[in-house]
Amino acid sequence: MKGKKSLVFLLAALLIIGLAACGGTSGGDAAAPPEDDANALIVVGFSQVGAESDWRTANTQSMKDTFVEANGYKLIFDDAQQKQENQITAIRNFIQQEVDYIVLAPVTETGWDTVLQEAKDAGIPVIIVDRMIDVSDDSLYTAWVGSDFRQEGDKAAAWIVENFKDKDPVNIVHIQGTIGSSAQIGRTAGLEDAVAKNSNLKIIAQQSGEFTQAKGQEVMESVLKQNDKIDVVYCENDNEAFGVIDALEAAGKTYGRDGDIKIISFDATNAGLTDTLAGKINYNVECNPLHGPRVEKIIKQLESGGTPDKKAYVDEAAFDATTITQADIDARSY
């Protein structure tokens, strides 16, 4: 009985403090010291998808490193654990807390109209990172920051064109990513465009490895049984490349820097770059997770009254097995 009474009291007290905090504009109130800080700092609410990969972890870390108090920011971070409901709740919370900017790394493309409209009504600019969103009204978000998968594909295709200038035909095996993902669409388009423009390039097999090592290996095993002459294997991420390497190894083929079959890969994860340094992967195009600085640039632009570009791409490098060094790998936290 006593426990219940004290609980009621506690709730009432919390309610009063809460009301005071909401209504308090003085800022000197003892109940709301964070608001005092918040007035000086730019408050950024960041809703992240989750922590499913090294890439994602590096992405989160980049935001946390950029939006620190020393730089004049206060970051409110929310991990949505792969659920859109959680992200929508997080955005509503950000609106309630009257943050200055909302940064969203969306888990899916669709279903954001309502909650982004709420943010717009509240006058809070929304910056989308990584994946794109599909909304009926483009003014619902201020800008998008992410990887230009198409450009990544173009870079890799350019390497093939450059290195096989004198060869005809160049037999390419194309291991695609999960069909329909933006990374797959961009990277596939890059290669297919190059094939259309260069008559010596020929895709002899095209199948999805679903971005996994196991599927990449299984698909490559099958491809090897039909095609004897393979010059290039174009894998749309590092995991697929690992699987392809295992399949080539089992079939007794030579590959990589000193072998017959050249391997192209994307993402440039730590394990992928290690294989590039070892000469197993010939060319690895980076998918840069360090979005923080680019987002900060947009926020600075908005703060000074400017209009940032609707789409902003992060800078991305590419690594050739003949020129990569250990220092390149060490310089990366992911």
Binding site: Q213, A214, Q217, V219
Partner: protein, 361 residues
């Protein structure tokens, strides 16, 4: 005349055998390749290992086969399916790699004994199975709902075990279970799968487990009344299923010498259920055929390999797969069998009792 009668009798016996249709389906899927890929059945030794599409089918179906064995027992005993097996594979792979790597992200030598890692992984998997078994047998939660918990939570647990990273164990000895034993041209997963099937078959044959599982599956209350502990038998079947998922998880993680919590065994639970159904087993429980599930597992992998061999575009792949599965399942449905039995003029009357028996199967 007598000869013809006899011939008809044998034919009927063959066509009414419970493995007849599953075998026909497997044969049709495999033979379809001859048209487009004449070298489909060609097997050669390349680089010291067996090389060919058929080898791929047998090799790649190993994990599915192991899962299908466990799924068959669970289905027979509880009349429901364990949809958490794919996630349990991820848990087992994660535990195995994490023990071997001693908590590091990538290692080039074992940090702990291999045996310890395997035992820890199997213990974790059996624990998952026990959790499912407890919910289904003691608390009477429908199997799909009960196992839905680990279906969703399992990969989260695996992520926790690996700290959200992909743990690599780059040691040649670890690649044995999913690769090749030096000097042996047959992939190791095949031996593991055969070992599991033989072991479970012997247990079913030498003990009363098969009889108990079937009677509990047909009528749990009646079994209890005659003195069988239905709860315990259901529980045991889930523990076995979890344990086998653990074995499959170790094989899958050994193939990629890493613990990829997001992808190991993904969607494999659905394939395992399908394998059980394709094998002519009733998903409602009761009598079961392990051989049927094995054939079902081969059929599914044969279909995947066939579609790869035929160069079906990746975006159309699921559609073709679905169409073939629908055809196979329809062929084996009791309604279709009855229709065939009625339209075939031969032996319309005497077929009835046999048909009834078939349906129980």
């Amino acid at each position: 005349m007598v000869m013809a009668e006899n011939g008809k009798h044998y034919l009927k016996k063959i066509t009414e055998h419970h493995l007849f249709l599953p075998l026909v389906c497997l044969a049709v899927v495999l033979l379809a390749n001859v048209i487009k890929t004449p070298n489909f059945f060609q097997v050669s030794i390349n680089n010291g290992i067996l090389y060919g599409y058929v080898v791929d089918v047998v090799n790649r179906s190993s994990e599915l086969l192991i899962l299908a064995v466990g799924m068959t027992l669970v289905t027979a005993a509880s009349g429901g399916q364990d949809i958490s097996v794919g996630s349990v594979m991820a848990v087992s792979g994660a535990v195995c790699c994490q023990v071997l790597s001693g908590g590091q992200v990538s290692v080039n030598s074992f940090q702990n004994p291999f045996l310890l890692a395997v035992l820890a992984a199997l213990a974790a998997a059996a624990l998952c199975g026990a959790f499912n078994g407890l919910l289904v047998s003691k608390i009477n939660i429908p199997p799909m709902v009960a196992t839905l918990i680990l279906y969703t939570a399992g990969r989260g647990i695996a992520q926790l075990v690996t700290n959200g990273q992909i743990t690599y164990v780059r040691v040649d000895a670890y690649k044995l279970a999913g690769g090749y034993i030096p000097g042996c041209p047959v992939p190791t997963p095949v031996f593991i799968a055969i070992g599991i099937v033989v072991l479970v078959s012997i247990i079913l044959k030498k003990t009363t487990l098969r009889l108990y599982i079937e009677s509990v599956g047909i009528n749990g209350s009646a079994s209890r009344l005659v003195g069988l502990n239905s709860t315990r038998i259901k529980f045991i079947s889930y523990v076995i299923c979890g344990l086998l998922a653990g074995v499959a998880g170790i094989v899958a993680s050994s193939r990629i010498y890493s613990a990829d919590a997001n992808n190991i065994g993904i969607y494999l639970e659905m394939d395992a259920i399908l394998a059980v159904a394709l094998g002519g087993n009733l998903l409602g429980g009761g009598k079961f055929s392990l051989a049927g599930s094995v054939i079902g597992a081969f059929t599914i992998q044969a279909l995947t390999t066939t579609l790869y061999a035929m160069n079906v575009a990746a975006d159309q792949l699921p559609v073709y797969k679905a169409i073939v599965v629908i055809i196979i399942v329809t062929l084996q449905s009791p309604v279709f069998r009855k229709f065939i039995a009625l339209t075939l003029p031969a032996g319309r009357k005497p077929m009835k009792p046999a048909e009834a028996e078939e349906e129980v199967q």
